[in-house]
């Protein structure tokens, strides 16, 4: 998420969490791991506490928590849950499964 080589193939993710709940903590840990391991840091992640930003509930149509929104690359997808099912997360994020290992580029 602090990767320097952001380009068209990089990911823009927002994770909405419900405060400091156990689910939130698990989701945050999981998304960070996915960014680091599978996206090779080509990932800009914003974490929002729903309680702090109720407006985003309406704008993003958030019902469940935690919800991970993939803004880019298109299409926009929403992933709900604690992101513990890594396979499903990668599928939903459209990460190429042919190269499960970290990318070698850069």
């Amino acid at each position: 998420m602090t990767s320097a080589n952001l380009d068209d193939t990089s990911y823009e993710l927002t994770l909405f969490v419900n405060g400091a709940s156990e689910l939130s903590a698990r989701a945050i840990a999981n998304v960070r791991q996915i960014c680091d391991v599978y996206l090779d840091g080509r990932c800009r992640l914003v974490i929002i506490n729903l309680h702090d930003d109720p407006e985003s509930l309406l704008t993003m149509g958030i019902l469940a928590a935690p919800t991970l929104v993939k803004h880019r690359p298109l299409p926009v997808r929403k992933l709900i849950g604690d992101l513990s099912q890594t396979e499903r997360v990668l599928l939903a994020l459209d990460v190429p499964r042919a190269h499960p290992t970290p990318a070698t580029r850069g």
């Binding site: 419900n18 689910l23 729903l50 099912q85």
Partner: protein, 593 residues
């Protein structure tokens, strides 16, 4: 609100014990529903309203909010899962609900929650905290006391992990209770279950089931309170309507048989009929049935009734189901009943519609609203048989009973006509007979190559009414009733009656002429007698004259004859005695003559 005990309510009145009525309720403000629920929905608890598509769930729920805002000062939140706020605002404006204004006044929040499964991927455990926060924010925004969630089951389409969803819904309803809001949750009818995803499991305080049935091509919406924990409620199915001003659950009035009774009479518009009914017509607030086959003059009787009311300066409502107002006005003018002028004067109101246009309940609601608005003294329903055809027999008579009761409480005199089938006694007559106070039968009598109308009073409660059959004439001056002739051939009507009248007139004339003739004859005889008497007198006088003359000339004659005899005797030498005899005889003759 006032607790009204209904006659058709299965609940015994003794149970309305004040000490037991502790369950706080939130009045819905929806016509009729608060009476059924004995005061409204359970305050601070969720209520489930379920039913099939198009049964009016959303509208009922929205009206609950609107009435809360307008009548009870309780702001509301509408959480819409199906319709957008713009759609809702547009749809409800047709009911006269200005939702946009309520939103602007911070009395209402409409939150459209979109859920699209295609966008959502489940990757582990989750909760519905986002939804909770959304509802919470909306409630706090306006200080809502009422919340509607329409339809929560949409969530089942969005999330595949129903185990989590169910536990979250349980939590949602617990949370709503904790918020102290009175919530209405809608649910779609499922296959064999009340709702598709068994929402009734979570909402167990009050369940209202709506239904939308089509029988004989007309649809009827019905409402039933399936369950109301801790409260009395009506258990029947009650028809409800979506009208111009929202939902109305019938009966609007649940009055029983407690209306006040009037002793004033209302003229029938036909003088002779007034006297047939004893003393001046129908009772005010009574119900009159005019039944008869086609073309017997039922509508004319109804029109004359209206015209008479208008002539007294009263208002009349005419509900027609087989003719348009223009047709009725034209047809009645042909028998000298001028309805146009009463329409123009604003005293007579026509409401004409085909009976098949609306369901039975809708018709009755329209009529009730119209009667409430126009406030007529007399109401005509012509013909009620068209209305009764719409629903099943049981429905129809229940509805009609309510309608007639409604008019009775208002003191409205109602005249309903009923079209019977030719040759058979209509079932509707039997249904109606016990409901009505006065029953007039108009029928045609065939005979003598024609058919004629007759009228009689089949029944009239509380009146010394005539038991006679009258001939019912439609003249150019309206209705007239004529005596019928009852003779050896039975009842005579029409030309037979006229012939009988003529015959009686002729017979009367004959008797008179006969007497006249006899008087003339007597006069003639008197003249004849007088003439005869005169003749006899003349003959007598003639004779008397002759005799007088003879008497005057009598002495000289005797002397002449004696002289002559003496001369002859002398010639014939007769003795003197013979002379004396002849003279005596001559004298005697004169005397006798």
């Amino acid at each position: 609100m006032a607790v009204t005990q209904r006659i058709d309510d299965p609940l015994p009145p003794a149970k309305t014990h004040p000490a037991r009525r502790t369950l706080p309720k939130t009045p819905t403000g929806i016509t009729g529903l608060d009476e059924l629920t004995e005061g409204g929905l359970p305050r601070g608890r969720p209520t489930l309203i379920c039913g099939p598509t198009g049964c009016g769930k959303t509208l009922l729920a929205m009206e609950f909010l609107v009435r809360g805002i307008t009548e009870f000062g309780e702001p509301g939140v509408f959480l819409a899962f199906e319709e957008s706020a713009a759609d809702l605002i547009a749809n409800m404006s047709s009911m006269g609900f200005d939702l946009a204004q309520f939103e602007a006044d911070s009395l209402l929040v409409i939150d459209h929650v979109t859920v699209e499964r295609a966008e959502i991927e489940e990757t582990g455990d989750w909760d519905l905290e986002g939804l909770f926060l959304r509802i919470s924010a909306a409630i706090n925004k306006v200080g809502a006391k009422r919340v509607v969630i329409d339809t929560i089951e949409t969530l089942f389409g969005a999330f595949s992990n129903t185990a989590i969803l169910r536990s979250e819904l349980h939590r949602l309803f617990r949370w709503l209770k904790a918020q102290g809001v009175t919530a209405v949750i809608t649910g779609e009818r499922g296959n064999g279950t009340l709702t598709r995803h068994a929402t009734e499991e979570y909402v167990s305080d009050c369940v209202i089931v709506l239904d939308h049935r089509v029988t004989e091509q007309s649809s009827t919406r019905r409402l039933r309170i399936l369950k109301y924990r801790g409260s009395l409620h009506g258990t029947n199915e009650y028809p409800f309507l979506i009208g111009e001003s929202g939902v109305s659950v019938l009966p609007i009035t649940s009055l029983g048989l407690r209306h006040s009774v009037f002793t004033e009479r209302v003229s029938t518009g036909v003088g002779r009929l007034d006297s047939m009914l004893g003393d001046g017509g129908y009772y005010q607030g009574s119900t009159v049935l005019v039944s008869g086959t086609a073309g017997t003059g039922k509508s004319t009787l109804a029109a004359q009734f209206c015209a008479a009311a208008c002539a007294r300066g009263e208002r009349a409502s005419y509900f027609a189901f087989d003719e348009s107002a223009a047709e009725i006005i034209r047809n009645m003018s042909s028998v000298g009943i001028d309805l146009r002028r009463w329409v123009d004067a604003g005293l007579l109101q026509f409401r004409c519609s085909r009976s098949s246009l609306l369901g039975l309940e809708a018709h009755l609601l329209v009529m009730q609203q119209s009667v409430s608005d126009f406030n007529p003294a007399v109401v005509v329903i012509d013909p009620v048989s068209d209305l009764l055809r719409i629903g099943s027999d049981a429905d129809a008579s229940a509805m009609l009973t309510r309608q007639l009761d409604f008019m009775k409480t208002k003191g409205v005199t109602a005249l309903v006509t009923n079209l019977n089938s030719e040759g058979q006694h209509a079932l509707a007559d039997e249904q109606l007979a016990s409901l009505v106070d006065t029953w007039l039968v108009v029928k045609t009598m065939e005979g003598n190559g024609e058919h004629n109308r007759v009228l009689y009073v089949r029944k009239s409660r509380g009146m010394a009414h005539s038991n006679q059959i009258r001939e019912f004439l439609l003249t150019s001056q309206g209705i007239e009733l004529a005596d019928v002739y009852v003779g050896p051939q039975g009842v005579l009507t029409g030309s037979a009656r006229q012939a009988q009248e003529a015959r009686e007139r002729a017979e009367g004339t004959d008797r008179l002429a006969d007497l006249e003739q006899r008087r003339t004859d007597l006069e003639h005889r008197r003249e004849a007698v007088a003439a005869q008497t005169a003749t006899l007198w003349r003959e007598y006088e003639d004779e008397a004259d002759v005799v007088e003359r003879l008497l005057r000339s009598g002495s000289t004659g005797t002397e002449v004859r004696a002289g002559q005899r003496a001369e002859q005797g002398g010639l014939r030498r007769a003795d003197s005695d013979q002379h004396r005899d002849v003279a005596a005889i001559a004298q005697m003759r004169v005397v006798t003559e």
